[in-house]
């Protein structure tokens, strides 16, 4: 299997990143098609188990995408998500996996370019890491 065939899971908050991804589509800002978005009501809903299970199921990387700092629709959801991503990074390090496979991004709903930049960044990282 080619490196690029591995899926990348993006957990997207419906108030920000999911709307940004929709907008990216509307503006035909193309990004690699192995990025699969899972819609969540708030990045704070995402738990460590969801991220790890995604990696276990064969995802090459997991992105957690929430609102901008200080502008979270649910006040603290994005900061909690960030902490969980940090914790995941630590766990990955313990089993010798690159921490860059799990990343948190903050973006606003009107930031489709930022969404595309973020996913491209991760796709490139995965390309470098291989597998």
């Amino acid at each position: 299997m080619k490196a690029m065939d591995k899926q990348i899971i993006a957990f997207c908050c419906e108030h920000s990143a999911y709307a940004a991804a929709d907008l990216a589509g509307k503006l035909r800002l193309h990004y690699p098609e192995n990025v699969l978005v899972i819609r969540v009501p708030c990045a704070g809903r995402i738990d460590v188990i969801h991220i790890l299970k995604a990696l276990e199921k064969g995802a090459a990387a997991v992105l957690v995408m929430g609102c901008e700092d200080g502008a979270c629709h649910h006040i603290t959801g994005n900061t909690r998500a960030k902490e969980r991503v940090k914790y995941c990074n630590m766990l990955l390090k313990e089993i010798d996996l690159d921490g860059r496979r799990v990343e948190m991004f903050n973006l606003s709903p009107n930031a489709p370019h930022k969404f595309v930049k973020a996913v491209n960044e991760v796709v490139n990282t995965i390309r470098q890491l291989g597998r």
Binding site: G44, R45, H74
Partner: protein, 539 residues
């Protein structure tokens, strides 16, 4: 029983031409549980919807996947359709094959579309129906704060038929209103009188709030009145706690030697029996803090009045004049035309006392020279701050404040007057430096919001969308601590054990509690662990 899932594919009127729908339908029909696959090119049009309804009925489908556009855009619409067909509206899952598949990539994306549908099918299989119910709400409203915004909101709420309690910590209503009266040209007495004359408004002065418990539609509030405690129930709380101004610390120290606040200066201007009218008046503003709209307006207004009424020499020392609120630019020009001298300086002027006058020394950036002026009266620079007691109020209400201590000012997401807790609203300058036009707009929108929430006396809510399992809950209080919307409290379960109880009415369904619960006791319908993991399973 094996679910009967109906999958409805839509090509959005032919806009999704890089998906081979025939091949996709074939793939999708192989998925377990899928009883019917339908293709349409106009699912969101009435004929598409009708066909959906007849398919669901005809084939006895019990769950539906719509593979079309973004759920952010059309989910409520399709929920209504399946409700029309007799299904529970929550038994729907959408696969976004338009914005996040066809439009986002070039080349043939059939494989990705199938994958997205597979994820949605996996999710829909686990969904559970949710019921809605009506809960009674109290039609009484508490307004905290008896300033201009508070009194105006009370009057307008009473006018649309609510019983209002207007609470003021101070001794009288509208204590700070007289200062505003002269700038804005309204009659403070008339505003207050409107509240006092209305029998649907109960006015309680010298009455601070002691405790706020309960949730939207049913707040229990303890109020201190004449040394006694009264307990009342309210459906909503409108906070209009206002602001205060303070002379900056530098000028405060020297106050009393000819340095006055805007308010004191206003009083001097209104005093016809003033012993000696000041010949030279100076103003300072926008040095230690970004000037507020209010202080800009106060400075320009007072400078102009001093010039026209007393004929004094008026100097304004400033860093920059912000004229963004309506009418301020005109006022600024008028002041200049009348002969008020504006001295732009970068650094704050040095101020010393001299023979009972105040000496101001500043570097004029345009002239490039020092300007020295002896003033009879110097109006000091004022900071614009949240009212005293705002901090206490915020902890009583369990609502966060912004970096400057105001309520809601920086919150771009939760709409202007509503807050992170349903049923608690903020109006007026307790939200920051708004200026009168925005305050007036706020007053109307609070009235509209309260009306929408309480006017029918009941509220329709989703029953147990987010629910803590009393068996699994260990009452660790984590969810109560983290809930951004104050929707969780301890309740007694059937066995007498104390567990987390999530109020359906106050819950915003964000799932922060479900994400953090160490006992995994909280199930958030639609976003339960199983449902999220099932989607991952499909990759």
């Amino acid at each position: 029983m094996e679910p009967r899932i109906g999958v409805f594919l839509c090509n959005c009127g032919g806009a999704l031409n890089n998906i081979d729908f025939e091949a996709a339908a074939k793939e999708v029909s192989k998925l377990p549980g899928v009883a019917r696959v339908e293709f349409s090119s106009s699912l969101c049009f009435e004929e598409g919807k009708q066909r959906m309804v007849s398919c669901i009925r005809g084939d006895n489908l019990d769950r539906v996947v719509v593979a079309a556009c973004s759920p952010n855009f059309q989910e409520p619409g399709f929920q209504e359709v399946i409700e029309r067909a007799g299904l529970n509206r929550y038994l729907l899952s959408m696969a976004n094959i338009r914005e996040q598949c066809s439009w986002a990539h070039t080349g043939d994306v059939t494989a990705k579309a199938v994958k997205l549908v597979k994820m949605a099918v996996n999710k829909v299989r686990l969904l559970q129906p949710l019921q809605t119910k009506e809960v009674p709400v109290s039609r009484e409203v508490l307004v905290v704060g008896g300033g201009f915004s508070g009194v105006s909101v009370a009057v307008q709420l009473a006018r649309v038929g609510f019983s209002v309690t207007l609470l003021e910590e101070g001794k009288v209503l509208g204590a700070g209103m007289s200062e505003l009266e002269s700038f804005y040209g309204f009659d403070a007495g008339q505003v207050i009188n409107g509240a006092e004359m209305d029998e649907r408004i109960e006015i309680l002065t010298s009455c601070p709030v002691l405790e706020v418990t309960g949730r939207v539609g049913n707040f229990t509030i303890r109020i201190s009145k004449d040394g006694q405690e009264i307990v009342r129930k309210y459906g909503a709380v409108v906070v209009a706690s206002g602001y205060q101004t303070k002379l900056t610390s530098g000028s405060e120290a020297k106050s009393g030697r000819g340095i006055v606040s805007q308010e004191e200066f206003c009083r001097m201007l209104g005093d016809s029996g003033l012993a000696r009218q000041p010949k030279t008046v100076g103003f300072l503003f926008d040095f230690s803090d970004e000037s507020s709209r209010f202080s800009t307006l106060a400075t320009l207004n007072n400078a102009l009045t001093a010039k026209t009424k007393w004929g004094s020499e008026v100097y304004v020392f400033y860093r920059s004049v912000k004229v963004d609120s309506q009418g301020t630019e005109r006022l600024y020009r008028e002041a200049r035309d009348c002969g008020v001298v504006f001295v732009k300086c970068e650094a704050p002027p040095s101020i010393t006392a001299e023979n009972g006058r105040v000496k101001v020394k500043a570097r004029d950036v345009f002239a490039g020279e020092d300007v020295v002026l002896a003033c009879d009266v110097l109006v000091g620079e004022e900071l614009y701050l949240p009212a005293e007691g705002t901090e206490t109020l915020s902890s009583l209400l369990n609502i966060r404040r912004d970096s400057r201590g105001f309520f809601q000012d920086e919150n771009v997401h939760i709409y202007p007057v509503a807050s992170e807790r349903r049923g608690i609203f903020f109006v007026g300058e307790c939200r920051g430096d708004l200026g009168r036009p925005r305050v007036l707009a706020d007053i109307s929108s609070v009235v509209a919001e309260v009306h929408a929430l309480l006017s029918s006396g009941k509220m329709r809510v989703e029953t147990e969308k987010v629910k803590a399992d009393p068996q699994k809950c260990v009452a660790c209080l984590t969810c109560i601590r983290v809930c951004p919307h104050g929707a969780i409290q301890l309740v007694r379960a059937d066995g007498g054990k104390e567990v987390a109880g999530i109020s359906d009415a106050a819950c915003f369904a964000c799932g922060v509690c479900a994400g953090i619960c160490p006992a995994k006791a909280i199930a958030f319908q639609g976003y339960r662990d199983e449902e999220i993991l099932a989607q991952i399973e499909a990759i």
